[in-house]
C-alpha cells in the first residue's frame, strides 16, 4: 500500500503539498454534507493523487485509517538538504533522488535550494550531518586573498 503514491513524492515540497491534501480530506470527515469526502477528493486534491487514493481505497480499509497510515509513511522519509548552484529541472531532481535512494537504501525527501555561492559541486545535510563539497569552499581562500590584494592596491 501507498507505494504508488509515495514513489512520486520525492521532495519536501511534494510532501508538504500532499500533507495539506491529506489534512483537507481528514477535515471532510467532520462535514455534515453528503459525500463530503468524495467532494473534497475531487475538488481540493490533485487529480493523480485523488486517483491513487481512490484506487487504494477500494481495498477494505476506512479512509481515516488509510490517511493516518499515509501520514505515518511520509514521516518515515528522511530529508536530505542539497544546495546547488543552478535551478534544477524535475528530471534533475528525480535523477538525484534515485541515486540517493540507491546509495542510502532508505526513502528520502529532497530539499533542494539554489545557492550561487556553491559555484560547482554541492552542499549536503543529512541526518544532522553537514558536508560541503562545493567549489566555492575550495576557492574561498583564493577569492579572499585576491579581494584583499585588490583593496590594498586600488582602494
Amino acid at each position: 500500500m501507498y507505494s504508488e503514491l509515495l514513489s512520486r513524492i520525492i521532495t519536501t515540497q511534494d510532501a508538504a503539498l500532499l500533507k495539506q491534501e491529506i489534512e483537507a480530506l481528514q477535515n471532510s470527515a467532520y462535514k455534515t454534507k453528503k459525500d463530503a469526502f468524495k467532494v473534497t477528493l475531487n475538488t481540493q486534491v490533485r487529480k493523480w493523487v485523488a486517483d491513487a487514493i481512490e484506487a487504494e481505497l477500494t481495498q477494505e480499509i476506512s479512509p481515516e485509517k488509510y490517511l493516518l497510515g499515509l501520514l505515518d509513511e511520509l514521516k518515515k522519509n528522511a530529508s536530505v538538504q542539497i544546495g546547488i548552484a543552478f535551478e534544477p529541472s524535475r528530471q534533475n531532481i528525480e535523477k538525484i533522488h534515485d541515486w540517493l535512494f540507491r546509495e542510502l537504501g532508505v526513502p528520502v525527501l529532497l530539499d533542494v535550494t539554489y545557492d550561487p555561492t556553491v559555484i560547482a559541486g554541492t552542499k549536503i545535510a543529512y541526518n544532522g550531518k553537514y558536508y560541503d563539497f562545493s567549489l566555492g569552499k575550495q576557492l574561498s581562500p583564493t577569492i579572499e586573498s585576491v579581494a584583499k590584494k585588490m583593496l590594498t592596491t586600488y582602494a
Partner: protein, 534 residues
Amino acid sequence: MHDYNYYLEKSGEIGYVDQVVKSIVYAHGLPTIRPGEMVMFETGQIGYILGINKESVEILLLSPTAVVVGTKLTRTLSGLKIKVDEKYLGKTISSLDFEKDLFVLDEDPDARAVDKTVMAFSQRQKITDPLETGVSLVDLIVPLGKGQRELIIGDRKTGKSQFLLQTVKAQAKRDYICVYALIAKPLLEIQRVKDYFKTEGLDKNSVIVASHSIDRPGLVFLTPYVAMTIAEYFRDQGKDVLLILDDLTTHARYYREVMLLAKRFPGRSSYPGDIFYVHARLIERAGKFTKGSITCLPVAQSVLSDLSGYIQSNLMSMTDGHILFDNDLFDQGRRPAINPFLSVTRVGGQTQTPLVKEVSRSLRTLLVSFEKVKQFKHFQTELSEATRNIFDLGSRIVTFMDQLPSVIVPVPINIVLYAGLQAALWQSSSMEDMKQEMSIVIELYHKNEAYQKMITSLVAETKKLDDLIAKVNSDENILLKHLQANRVAKPTEPEPTPAPAATQTQNPETQQPAQPVPVDQKIVPKADKPVGKS
C-alpha cells in the same frame, strides 16, 4: 565569536528549528550534541542545550531576538564559557554584554566554564578570618568569616540591599574584590547600585553583573553563574572576593518559568525537582580555599516573614547561617532591622578573638534580658532598680546598634564603645546625646590615624571585657578625653539631676575638667544641638 558558517564548517552538524515556545526552542538534527553545549542559529542568535529527547533537542534561547520555525542551527562544540580579566573591574556587565563580549564559543585557554563542578575538599580551608561588614549588630552578634556563605533573608523593603551595600563599602575599602549580582532587577535599581558604587568610590575593585526583569529568562538564569565565574577568576589570583547574589528567590522563579515551558514535571510550589541542585551547585563554589576566598551572601526574599518557604528553607540548608531582616523591627524603626535572636552564623564565631567573643556573648545575654523586661516597662517606677538598670542599658544598646546606612563602624571602635556603655559613660546622657557622642568617636576613628592605632592596639592588647571596661574608665583613656573635650566645648548647661545607679560603677572622671586635646583631633559635631553633659 565567529559566524554561523564558521561553526557549521567546524562541527559539520546541522539542525532545524521545529517549534518555538517563548524562549525554549525545539529542533531536530545535531546527532552528537551534548547537554550544556552552545548552539548558533543561522540568524546569529545563540542558545544553550537544556535537554536532549529522542527526536529533538531543547534549546534555551539566550539572544534577545526571536528565532522562527525552520531556522537552521549548528553546534559550536563549546560549553558556556566566559573570558574574564581585570578590565571588568569597575564595570557593570549587563545581560546584553553577556552575548556581545562575555561568552566565548571558541577554543581559548583563558575562557572559564560558567557551570563547573565545585572545587575539591582538599583545596578548601577552615574559615578562620573575620569579615567585617561595618554593621555593629552583625559584626558583634552575627559575625561573618572570610569564605562563609551567609543567607540574607527578609521581606521586601526591610533594608537588605542597604546592608549589602554597606558590606560592600566596608570590604571594598579593604581591597576586597566585590562582585554584585543583580538578578532580574528593574533598571532603576541597577542604576541606583551603580550610582552608589560610583559616589562611594567602590568601582575600582568591584564588578556589577546585572540582568533586567525584562531579559530572556535564560540570561536571568545565568546571571549568578556568570557572577560566580568572575569571582572565581579573582579568587584564583589569590584575592579575597565578596560575592552578593541579589536575589535567589527571583532566580528560582525564572528557572521555574523556563522549566515549566520545557515541560518538566513541576514539584513543590511548581518548582522543578532540581531547584535545590541548581542553587547548591552554585553556592558550593564559594568558600575559603588554599588560594583566595569567596564569601558569598545570597539573598532570599520572604513573604510576611515566613521562613518556611520552599526556596528560603532550601537556601538556609545550604548556607552557613542566615541574617534575618525582621519586618516588625523595621516598623519599630530599628535600623538595620536585623533580628539578632533568629539570625544564625555557623562559622563566624570561630573567627572571633576571645575578647570579641566575650563581647558577643555579653551583648546577647543583655539583649535577651532586655527583651524579657521590655514587657514590664509600663510599670515604670514600680520596677526594681535592677530591672530598671537592665531596661536602661538595653535601650542604650539598642540605640548603639542603630546605625545609618552611610556609617561604617569598624569592630575595634564597636568594642570600645560597648565597653564605654558597660562602664556607664553615658549613664546620665540622653539617648540622642549618647548617639551623637558615639558618632563623634566613630568619625574620629575614621579620620585620625593616631587615634585609630590607639584604639586598635587597645583592643588587641586587652584579653578580657572587664579589663577593657576598666581601661575605658581609667584616666588615661583617650576615648574619654575626647568625649570630655567635646563636652567642655559646649555652652554650659544646668546640672543634670542625678541618674539612678547603674549596674556598673559610674565613672568619676567625667566630672573632672577635661584634658586639652590637640586641634587636629577635635571634632565639631554637625548637629546644632549641644552634646549632652554627664
